[in-house]
Symmetry: C2
Subunit: 216 residues, 2 copies
C-alpha cells in the first residue's frame, strides 16, 4: 500500500506541475496528451483534466487543436508578476503578524536560518536546495495571513518556482540580503509589528526583482 492518492488526474497534475517547475519541461515545450499519458501509465482523460487546470493556473497555454505548451514568461511578464507580488505579499505578511503562533514563528525561523546556512559561501553551499525552502517559506507566510482570497489571487499568477527557479542568478550581496530578509521578517512578526514585516517583504521583493528582471 503505497498510499497512492488513487485519483489519476491528481497524479497527472502533480507530475506535470513538478516537471514544469523543476524545469524538466522547458518553457515553450509541447506537452502531448498521449505522450504524457503513456509516461504515467494513464489514459488521456485525466491528463487532459490536468492540462486544463494547469492552463487555468497559467503554467501552460492551450491552443485549439494544437495542444498545450509550457508558458514562456517574457521580461514584461516577470515585471508584471512582481507588481502583483508587491501589491499583495506585503499585505499578507502584515496580516500574518496578527495570526502567527509562537510555534508557527519557530518553524519559519528554522526555515530562514537553514536557508542562511545553505546560502552561505563555502563548501556546504547548496543553491539548488534553496528553491524548495524558499517556496515553503513564502507559502507558510501566505497561509498565516488567513486570507484565502489573497492567497488565491497570488497563487494563480505568481508561480514562485517559475519566477524563482534558481538562486544562481543572485550575486553574493543580493543573496545575503535576501536571506537576511527572511530572518528579519520573522523578527518583525515576533514583535507583532505587521507594518515592519510588510516593509521587509517589500524590500525582499524589490531585491528579487532587481536580480530577476534587472534595472527598471
Amino acid at each position: 500500500m503505497t498510499s497512492t492518492t488513487a485519483r489519476a488526474s491528481e497524479r497527472a497534475l502533480a507530475d506535470l506541475r513538478a516537471a514544469i517547475l523543476d524545469g524538466d519541461l522547458a518553457a515553450g515545450a509541447h506537452v502531448g496528451e498521449v505522450e504524457t499519458a503513456e509516461r504515467l501509465g494513464l489514459s488521456r482523460t485525466p491528463v487532459r483534466e490536468a492540462l486544463t487546470r494547469l492552463a487555468a493556473e497559467g503554467l501552460v497555454e492551450l491552443e485549439a487543436h494544437r495542444g498545450a505548451r509550457v508558458t514562456r514568461f517574457s521580461r514584461d511578464d516577470l515585471d508584471g508578476i512582481f507588481d502583483v507580488r508587491l501589491a499583495l505579499e506585503p499585505r499578507a505578511t502584515a496580516r500574518a503578524a496578527t495570526h502567527a503562533t509562537p510555534a508557527d514563528l519557530d518553524a519559519l525561523e528554522a526555515l530562514a536560518r537553514r536557508m542562511q546556512e545553505l546560502g552561505a559561501p563555502g563548501p556546504d553551499q547548496d543553491l539548488d536546495a534553496l528553491v524548495d525552502l524558499n517556496r515553503d517559506f513564502h507559502a507558510r507566510l501566505l497561509e498565516l495571513a488567513h486570507a484565502p482570497a489573497l492567497a488565491a489571487a497570488l497563487a494563480n499568477v505568481v508561480h514562485t518556482p517559475v519566477v524563482t527557479r534558481t538562486f544562481r542568478a543572485y550575486d553574493p550581496a543580493s543573496l545575503a540580503r535576501s536571506l537576511a530578509h527572511h530572518v528579519e521578517i520573522v523578527a518583525a512578526l515576533r514583535a507583532g509589528d505587521g507594518d515592519w514585516a510588510g516593509a521587509v517583504m517589500r524590500c525582499h521583493l524589490g531585491n528579487a526583482r532587481a536580480v530577476m528582471v534587472g534595472p527598471r
Copy 2:
C-alpha cells in the same frame, strides 16, 4: 452561420458561467454532469471540462465523487475579496492613465454616463441593467492598464457579478456616489493623473464594500 464557436466545451463553459453569474444556479446548488449535458445537448465530456475550468476560477467547488457545487461566499470571503480588489484595482486604474487613448476614454465616459441615467431615481431607473454595464466598465479599465498578470490575479478571485450581483443593495446616496465615481475616474484619466484616478477607485471600492459587506 450563427458564428457558433463550434467548440462544445466553450459553450458549456459560457452557459454555466452565465447561469451562475445571473443567479439561475443558486449558491450551493448541485451541478450534475448528466443533467447539464442533457440540457445543452452535449455529452458529459465537455461539461466536465467546463466544470474543471470553473473550479479553477473559483465559481464552483469540486468534491471527489460528489460532483460540483456553486461556491458559496461568506461574509469573510467577500471582505477578503475587497481586500484584493483594493490592493490591485487602484493600481490598475492608475496605470490606465498612461495607456488610455481619447477613444478609450470616450467609450468609458459613455458607459459612466449611461449608468448615471439608468441609476437615477425615476420611472426610467433600471438597477438590473447596471450590473452588466458595471462589469463592462471595470473590465475595460482593467484592460487599459496593460497589465496581464494583474488582470489575471483579479480575474481568478473577484467575480464581479458574484460580488456585485445586484445594485439593489445600494441605498440612494451610496448608489449616487458609486456612479459619480465612474465619471470622476474618467475625468482623472483625461487629466492624465493616475494617482487621482487610483484614489477615486479606492473610494469606489470602499463605498461598495460598505454596502456589500457592511461596517468593518
